[in-house]
Chain length 763, copies 2
């Protein structure tokens, strides 16, 4: 292929050249917390492996494979990987973790204790048995990362338009990817040098191995001829797509490999179900397969590594090809890679000169395409690794080993830290912690059950879910297609909600709506002597509300009217319903959770001051700030201090044992209140009322607020023993999943069940 | 019943006492525009009369009966009445109107030409035939208004709690209504005086009448013994509920009346299906039946009249009962009423002294209950009518007759003016003209077809529709239960809309979303040389949008980015799609209307100036201000003048014949643009694209905007011959119903059809 540098260096190509689609596949072995290979089956909670889009098993039953969707940047694909990783970690038995290295943990002595993945399809099992026979089970236990890479189609189309070597776009595109593949195979040693991370085997890996084993640490056993490679006689040409397809087909026909997928190249050409498709349809993307798991990265690879690979692949397109024969070049690349893979990790590589050339070529490219600082610093970072081999991944591992820790213990220690990290804030989902908690919880459940999740709009909490072909859109975790358009519109209008509920026979606070101050004032007599609430028609975070539990004087009434009208052009004056407010969360005709919210408080122990008790209560990992946790930190600001003062105490007062003081009047969780699950305590009759009221509004999902004076008293919808305050069309779910006290209710699973009734949750 | 004044005069009762539920039934005869009794059948467009809740026929096929829902004030019930009235007028043949008087228009000589209502139920027809036999068809042709009246239940409950005369609330309530009924029957002459409006018969009314006819004008033939009354031997006692029920049942048993409903009292007690229910369940409200149609009111009654009746009925409860025997009192009331009904309308009534007493009692009551100015002025108004008989309705009619116009011609002239008024702004619905036009149109269609309409929230355009028991809630005329919650959320997010449409294979403008200025600026190269649109992610009325049809210079691009970010925290840069924008309105999988919007413009005639042409174009009754009309007035402000200047003309320039000048760049109807229906012109292929795109989003109702360079060119969804700009979840409908040019499309009927597929529209 002719040089493309002159075309790509035009400014209008710069952005497009940098565009990319990346998908990752990452394998790891399940082990117990002491690093012993797990003996348990692949967790049943993931459901059937036949179709799970993101969590699979590779060769063995213990070898979890995580598959991300295709993303548009390193950052994005790493977020995907992090999320699935965390789902895997929190779905396995709590005493299991993922082995963080490519080289397997200590393997059982008896081959029979290495279990081939228990897949439903007998052909899949037979394939693995054949691999075990050919390569031995132990080699198949090696894990790694596959990096699927695609240039922007628009970019390739524009390049195609400006070149004169190929007549058809399909041919041009295939040629471009073949060029990248050949260059990559020639220079892949550099990737092995930079991010090779398999310096030592663990016990049992070389058991029964014909080739013996290296007797010093290396950069990457996995990427050397001791690793996951075909027999030397397996050679595939990358000269042209026809040659590539023909040589693979011949290998299969001659029985040298059993299936096309047994061809373990560092780069596979992709574009169809099998090689023949590639010839017909052209190459669509490439799969880079020589990435070792990085034990220092919680998810096996860092964003920087992903970006370095991206830059390297860009350079493989940008750089001109060596003049030599394509097949010779590949063979040379193979040799050089084996050489580098087997170097001692702490020595300079013998290919340093070629490395310098590659890096200066990359720097030149970065310069010419006006790349941002990030790319410039990536090149510099690679330079540092060439200068200081101890900073490469293999170098770091061996440095630590030289300092006295075994590779095994290092792996256990790192694996345990990732395991612990995953459990610290179980209400969050790594990669998406900037999203709302309810959405993070729903995404967790979806990924676990094999529902593909695409974030359509991150700010808007807008997800696209796909399960066995059925697409569902969800916003803010509970706005779904199951509710009708008009229901939330009804709920957001308090007057309409009350009318609909009252017409259906439910108790709602009696009251009147006024759109003129004069009219409101003229009705004082109607409300005289009654407990009332005066509020703007559209309440905004409690602004403009006045409550008179015992009734209002005319002057106070007039002031309250004035305040309410300062917030809205219409106001409501309603009877005050006394009692305790409970949130009933109804999904699909069932009450799934009931919550009592209690104002921020501390309970004395006879020893500590209020301030100390607050600090202690705030240590709960469920408490955080800015809605990043199910509960908020209790503050000790002016409002709280005033509240303490009214109770005759200060922040310094040491409370008596069991003495409760409140720091807030309002019970909002957002101001440090406690959330207490009451689902099991609440009698059926109130649940029935909540269900019927939500049904009367035609809603599938609603958080409906009931005031109940005494929940132990039996009530019916027609009785006066409760009042419905409001119904919410996007009620928070996370506070029910992780309450301050009482049992958590996994409402996000109920939402998924509503969308996909066929998903089973209790396994 | 003991006096209630002391209780009611307590301040906390004042508001409650004034609360009321009112429902009206109003009959009128259909006539042609010259006042001849119509010979057509009841309009088929109203559908089956078996269940129509608001539009019925009374005795004859020509006698339309309008029935309002129960309302909470005079204002509200009059709005209801006005709306149904207008629906009736605009649904009848255009050359028919409603006769505005109680006394029928000239009746045919031959009794057989007075057609009994063609009802489906044979029993209903038989009853009318029996009435015709008993009273003669002519008397049955008299029309009037029934006024159903209920006090606040809460008010009666409070009264009950403070009295000691009755043990059961049911008994107390019944006694209260009996008291009101007896007092009303005793003093009803005052109502006949104040609002009696049937001074003269038309030709044919007294044909074959045994009693002869009065030979001078009277206040109300209808309310006299010449009117719509039972035989003298028909007497019903109101002494107690038992007496009332017994006497009615005896009348039926003895054959003096054929059914309970043949008892033509001025006040009926109501509360069940038949009299026996009253004894069992108590009286719930009363039906006042002696209201003549007011020919001077477009809808037969004014708000002031409704309020006077309300005040009078309040007074009937408030005033103590005369000491005499209840039955004697009723007989006295009957006589006094006949006396007043047959007085000459221009004379003072002989009962002036009693009238004075009643009025001063009412004034006293109004004073004691701290009533607003309105009630005080109502009493004063009644006083004026007593002082000036010529100001009573009968007085006004006879004054006009004395001035030379016949009562017939007066009625025709008034009727025609109401008829004309109903047709002037056919896009509005009387009583609800403050609501959005689309909602007014939907309400019109609903009322016409017998769908009961309740306005749950007027500001919010929130309706409750009920048709044969099926309830549907509708906001803003097209937000319904047929669409799902998540669909409008998808449409309101431009990024999500584009992703969903693009994934489904539709052409949407290519582009990128940026949430940092730096990132946006770094992407200049990507957009260089392309036509682009830079806009805030959440567009607010076109603010912050920059369009570069031919591409932007780097400086211009940077400025556009800055402007867009000043409106939102995220922005979109999209390719500019050139072509003409069309709005496709899709309902239930069909394109129901297609609209082209053209910027405000005038077309020259070689004679008039731009300013004159604008003034002329603005005379179209379809043009108005503030969205009160389907088109907006064209303005001649600074923006328009600047636009003219750019075309080298001024407001004073006389345009050549067929010379078109534009006054605006933007095509919004809200700035004077023209709406042109293109439904029939647009080829199927584009309709198919619109339908599929709306289906891809899962929407039932959407207005989707397509840019089409040349609509005569055949396109497919995969082709590049169109672009989808956005999809709207609450698209305006009225502009399609009443376009500037082209055929109107009654989209509101399509919405109703979606909700109630069984309603037939093409009859």
């Amino acid at each position: 292929m002719k040089s493309l540098q002159n075309i790509i260096s035009k400014i209008s190509y710069h952005s497009l050249f940098k565009e990319v689609k990346i998908g990752l596949e990452k394998e790891s072995q399940r082990v117990t917390l002491d690093g012993t290979l797990a003996t348990t089956d692949h967790p049943k909670i993931f459901g059937c492996r036949n179709f799970h889009p993101s969590i699979q098993t590779d060769f063995s039953e213990t070898q979890v494979e995580i598959i991300t969707a295709v993303a548009n940047s390193g950052k994005e694909v790493l977020e995907e990987l992090a999320a699935i990783h965390e789902v895997v970690l929190r779905s396995m038995p709590e005493d299991e973790m993922l082995w963080p290295m490519s080289m397997p943990p200590k393997l059982p002595e008896d081959d029979r204790d290495i279990k081939i993945a228990k897949l439903a399809n007998p052909k899949d099992v037979a394939y693995r048995e054949q691999l075990a026979a050919t390569y031995g089970k132990r080699k198949q236990m090696v894990s790694g990362i596959h990096y699927n890479f695609e240039f922007s189609v628009e970019f390739l189309e524009k390049l195609f338009a400006e070149q004169d070597e190929y007549e058809l776009f399909k041919e041009f595109k295939t040629a471009a990817y073949l060029k990248v593949a050949r260059n990559y195979l020639r220079y892949r040693w550099m990737v092995t040098y930079l991010i090779g991370a398999a310096p030592l085997p663990e016990e049992g890996y070389f058991t029964g191995c014909k080739k013996g084993m290296p007797n010093v640490p290396v950069r990457s056993i996995r990427n050397s001829h001791y690793g996951y490679t075909n027999d030397e006689s397996v050679f595939v040409s990358y000269r042209s797509i026809e040659d590539y397809v023909t040589s693979i087909e011949e290998l299969v026909n001659s029985g040298k490999i059993s299936e096309e997928k047994e061809f373990y190249s560092a780069v596979r050409l992709r574009g169809g179900k099998n090689a023949a498709d590639l010839a017909a349809k052209g190459v669509n993307y490439i799969e880079v397969r020589n990435i070792d798991n990085n034990p220092y990265a919680p998810y096996g690879i860092t964003e920087e590594q992903i970006d370095v690979l991206h830059l390297f692949l860009m350079y493989m397109l940008w750089m001109d090809e060596p003049a030599e024969d394509a097949d010779d070049m590949l063979k040379m690349g193979e040799k050089l890679n084996d050489l580098v893979a087997l170097e001692h990790p702490l020595t300079q590589t013998s290919l340093a000169v070629e490395g310098e050339q590659l890096l200066s070529g990359m720097a030149e490219m970065v310069n010419q395409i006006g790349a941002p600082d990030k790319l410039v610093s990536l090149v510099a970072c690679c330079q540092t690794l060439f200068d200081s081999p101890e900073k490469t991944l293999a170098g770091r591992i061996i440095t630590e080993v030289n300092e006295g820790i075994s590779q095994h213990d290092l792996a256990v220690s790192l694996g345990k830290s990732y395991h612990e990290q995953a459990y610290t804030r179980p209400y969050q989902l790594a990669g998406f912690t900037d999203m709302e908690l309810s959405t993070q919880l729903l995404m967790f459940d979806a990924i676990q059950k094999g529902v593909a999740v695409e974030v359509l709009d991150r700010q808007d909490q807008f997800l696209k879910l796909t399960y066995r072909g059925q697409v569902e859109y969800v916003k803010k975790a509970n706005m779904t297609s199951r509710d009708s358009y008009v229901v939330p519109l009804m709920m957001e209008n308090k007057t309409v909600t009350k009318k609909v509920l009252a017409q259906a026979g439910f108790n709602v606070p009696q009251g009147k709506e006024f759109d003129s101050k004069k009219e409101a004032l003229a009705n004082y007599g109607y409300f005289m002597g009654k407990g009332i609430v005066v509020k703007p028609k559209s309440t905004n975070y409690g602004l403009g509300i006045s409550i008179f539990k015992e009734g209002a004087s005319q002057a106070a009434y007039e002031e309250a009217i004035r305040i309410a009208f300062s917030e809205d052009s219409a106001i409501l004056v309603e009877e005050f319903v006394s009692g305790t407010e409970y949130r009933f969360f109804v999904i699909d005709g069932k009450v799934r959770a009931i919550m009592l919210r209690v104002p921020a408080n501390v309970c004395g122990d006879g020893e500590h001051s209020v301030a100390e008790l607050v600090a202690k209560k705030n240590q709960d990992p469920l408490r955080g700030t800015n809605h990043r946790a199910p509960l908020q930190l209790i503050e000790l600001g002016d409002i709280e201090k005033l509240m303490l003062q009214e109770q005759g105490v200060s922040a310094e007062t040491i409370l008596e044992k069991d003495q409760i003081v409140y720091l807030r009047e309002n019970s909002n969780v957002s101001t440090g209140g406690d959330s207490i699950d009451m689902t099991d305590e609440m009698p059926e009759c109130y649940k029935e009322i909540a269900i019927q009221a939500v049904e009367a509004m035609g809603a599938k999902i609603s958080g409906i607020d009931l005031i109940i004076p005494d929940y132990k008293k039996v009530a019916t919808s027609g009785s006066q023993d409760y009042g419905i305050i409001e119904a919410n069309f996007n009620p928070a779910m996370h506070m029910h999943v992780y309450p301050f006290a009482g049992k958590g209710r996994r409402l996000t699973q109920d939402v998924l069940k509503l969308l996909y009734p066929e998903i089973l949750f209790n396994n």
